[in-house]
């Protein structure tokens, strides 16, 4: 096995462990911190099922963003939808044709639209980048990291597209490498510079995920304003530290 391949095997494991451990750690932190008061933004659902529906409209349709600003919604939705398609297309590197999961990859949507998702992703990202530059309000709130994050993802999309349309890599060997990581049977990685650039940026993105604003993805589900059920009059809500205060003076009994 080449030294390069060994390096990337190590990088892959480090990045994936950082990603999973980092997100888990953050989510546990959120879970640990209580929500002392009912703060659902109303109108809010009255049932758990309603909350699931609320999240569906937010996560799948970006409902609030749609109400807020159409341009950001268009570019944001374009980017995220493309990302999802790209994700499914990439599954072919970890799923074999004989797997029951193969239809996830080998279906009409992924194979047709997915093929061009990279372009849509770039358009979306350019739109998001443009608004940071041209809308004075968004320019005011943008930090260097906000621009760099977009550039990083543009780099990933750009190199990804290059592999497909400009300089092909040995994808059979690439698949062997990736599968090898899962099976702990390590294989060589093709050495094309564009592929290495693509992978390096993806791994970097994974590493910074838990310590950056990318946490918006899992964090979205932890906003009490959205996940709480609107039933404060029917069901008493009390946090552990709220209960402690009560226990001290006994005035609620």
């Amino acid at each position: 096995m080449s030294a390069l391949s060994i390096l990337y095997v190590i990088l892959f494991y480090v990045a994936m462990i950082t990603l999973v451990a980092g997100i888990t750690n953050k989510m546990l932190q959120y879970k640990r911190v209580p929500a002392p008061l009912k703060i659902a933004v109303t109108p809010a659902p009255l049932t758990r099922t309603g909350v699931v529906y609320r999240f569906f409209t937010e996560v799948v349709l970006f409902n609030s963003l749609f109400r807020a600003t159409k341009w950001t919604w268009i570019f944001g939705f374009m980017f995220h939808a493309s990302l999802l398609l790209a994700f499914f297309r990439h599954l072919r590197y970890v799923i074999s044709p004989d797997s029951i999961l193969w239809p996830l990859v080998n279906n009409m949507v992924v194979q047709s639209f997915g093929h061009y998702a990279g372009f849509a992703m770039l358009v979306g990202l350019l739109g998001l980048f443009g608004r940071r530059i041209f809308v004075d309000r968004v320019r005011y709130i943008s930090s260097p990291s906000d621009y760099l994050m977009l550039i990083l993802i543009m780099g990933i999309a750009g190199t990804g597209l290059s592999i497909v349309y400009v300089a092909h890599t040995d994808i059979v060997q690439l698949k062997a490498f990736i599968m090898g990581l899962f099976l702990f049977d390590w294989q060589n990685l093709p050495g094309d510079p564009i592929l290495l650039a693509h992978l390096t940026m993806v791994l970097f993105l994974a590493v910074i995920f838990p310590i950056s604003k990318l946490m918006h993805a899992p964090g979205l589900f932890m906003a009490p304003t959205r996940y709480q059920i609107d039933n404060p009059r029917e069901k008493r809500h009390l946090s552990p530290w709220g209960a402690e205060i009560e226990a001290k003076d006994g005035r609620n009994s």
């Binding site: 970006f62 260097p144 964090g219 979205l220 404060p232 709220g242 205060i245 609620n252």
Partner: protein
């Protein structure tokens, strides 16, 4: 009161998002609480008001760590913002002032940049990259200024893709600021009055008795029916908790008369309490769980002492937010009240129910001299319900208004319901030292009001919040309208309701006829 000259923002046919003007409102800052008011709240006081306590920086970071561990909202909201810009044009204070720090995300960032510097990896090691800054006196000053340019109205939270609620950040920041010596005078002066006397105005029991007796006489003179305004009557069915402004301010007091007439017409026994003679709860504004609880517990104590069976709240926005969402948490459980009714119940739920059951005799033509519109109060719209279904906080008030008025027209769609604009005076900002902010912050609401006035002949705007009513009374004249164009919803009910025996004796009521 004399009108002070401020630059009054233009109102236009269609809303326009302003270009940012950095520092436009940097000078706006409410009076800082003096030692007297700080200590009255249990907050520390520095040598001079406006200065910070010794060791303020460490204390602030310690408080922040504590808050982050106690409030999931704060912890999550500090992390999840992606600076997408969805909220940037949603705040009435930004629209009215163009100051970029009044964009909700920029307001949150005042705290977030400190959070990043001291609590995150990126901010600790790459502060410039992620816009993290050291905690300095200047940062604190900025926070004090701009966290008092937020009315905690949550309009931004409606549009945020991640549900980030700036009000949560503002509340946390205000509490931390107060605890390093920078409490706000207005709120910190009021809260001890509630604790000691029972209401925000510091209206003692004898004054309250006087006021209520006066009201009884006034109503009797007016309609020749003895409508009671009972105080501290043990064994009454309902305890009414209402904002103390209802006892003396216009148009609030007309709303109070409306509640009394509805109670009278439905034949229920009710009472006010001198101990809980205030629905408002400024503990919410300053982000203090403890003060908010203390204020809520007065209501529990009063309800127990008076032996009432039901709890009804009068027209007040933030009070209803606290009552609806937090009363059960802070002052519950309410197992000693009648479980067949919502606890607490909004006066509009009570009136709507009475209307539905045909218990009220209504003559809508009594309100024919007006064409109404309705201002959804922020806290009611975005933090409560008034009825059984989601969105009943929008429909119930409108149904009641339309049940007692013939002429009604809504304001523009993107300025009502959960997209409603704050009046500009909520969240503890209803103070004269913030007049400029209040006038400018009212611009979006004034604009939509003016448009229905000119296009649909609207003459009056009804509201169900004491702060909204006071704020509009004050700012309407600045926008070329008159202070009496703001009315209480129960004032409309009061106008239209016909009580049994009303006007039976003599139509021109005899002034000399003494009320017993």
């Amino acid at each position: 009161m004399a009108k002070v000259d401020y630059e009054i923002p233009e109102t236009r046919e269609f809303p326009v998002i302003p270009s940012v003007m950095e520092g436009a409102m940097a000078h706006s800052s409410p009076f800082v609480a003096s030692e007297e008011f700080q200590s009255g709240m249990g907050f520390p006081s520095p040598e001079e008001p406006g200065q910070l306590i010794e060791g303020w920086k460490e204390r602030f970071l310690e408080l922040m760590k504590d808050k982050l561990g106690k409030y999931r909202s704060l912890q999550v909201f500090m992390d999840t913002c992606v600076k997408c810009g969805a909220c940037t044009d949603k705040c009435h204070y930004f629209i009215g002032t163009a100051d970029p720090k009044n964009m909700p995300v920029a307001r949150q960032d005042l705290l977030r940049k400190v959070y990043r510097r001291y609590f995150t990896f990126a901010g600790k090691y790459f502060p410039k990259l992620v816009g993290a800054v050291d905690l300095t006196e200047e940062v604190i000053k900025d926070m004090y200024s701009y966290f008092h340019q937020c009315s905690e109205c949550r309009r931004c939270a409606v549009f945020c893709p991640f549900g980030i609620d700036t009000a949560e950040v503002t509340m946390a920041a205000r509490d931390m600021l107060a605890k390093i010596g920078m409490g706000q005078k207005y709120s910190n002066q009021i809260i001890p009055k509630v604790h000691k006397i029972g209401n925000n105005l510091g209206l003692p029991e004898p004054a309250l008795v006087d006021t209520l007796e006066g009201l009884e006489e006034e109503v009797e003179e007016d309609i020749n029916v003895k409508v009671r305004f009972p105080l501290d009557e043990k064994g009454a069915e309902i305890l009414l908790v209402t904002p103390s402004a209802d006892f003396f301010a216009e148009p609030h007091i007309d709303g109070l008369i409306g509640y009394a007439k509805v109670f009278h017409a439905t034949g229920v026994t009710w009472t006010l309490s001198s101990k809980a003679s205030e629905a408002g709860n400024f503990g919410l504004f300053i982000g203090s769980y403890e003060h908010m609880r203390e204020i809520s517990l007065r209501i529990r104590d009063a309800a127990k002492e008076l032996g009432v069976r039901r709890l009804v709240f009068g027209e007040c926005g933030h009070a209803w937010r606290v009552a609806y969402n937090h009363l059960n948490t802070l002052a519950g459980p309410w197992d000693f009240l009648d479980q067949n009714y919502p606890i607490p119940q909004h006066i509009l739920e009570y009136t709507k129910d009475a209307l539905d059951r045909n218990l009220l005799t209504i003559d809508k033509s009594e309100n024919d001299h007006m064409t109404l519109t309705f201002h959804d109060s922020c806290n009611i719209a975005r933090a409560s319900r008034i009825g059984d279904t989601p969105g009943s906080q929008f429909t119930t008030p409108r149904q009641v208004i339309q049940a007692v008025c013939n002429n009604y027209h809504d304001m523009a769609k993107d300025t009502i319901h959960d997209a409603t604009f704050c009046c500009g005076g909520g969240g503890g900002l209803l103070t004269d030292d913030l007049m400029e902010l209040r006038i400018k912050g009212a611009q979006p609401r004034m604009e939509s009001l003016k448009n229905v006035v000119s296009d649909h002949g609207v003459t009056h705007m009804a509201a169900i919040c004491a702060i909204c009513k006071s704020q509009f009374t004050k700012v309407l004249p600045y926008y070329g309208m008159t202070m009496d164009q703001i009315v209480s919803v129960h004032q409309l009910v009061s106008n239209a309701i016909i009580l049994e025996g009303q006007g039976e004796e003599a139509d021109d009521s005899d002034e000399a006829d003494e009320a017993a």
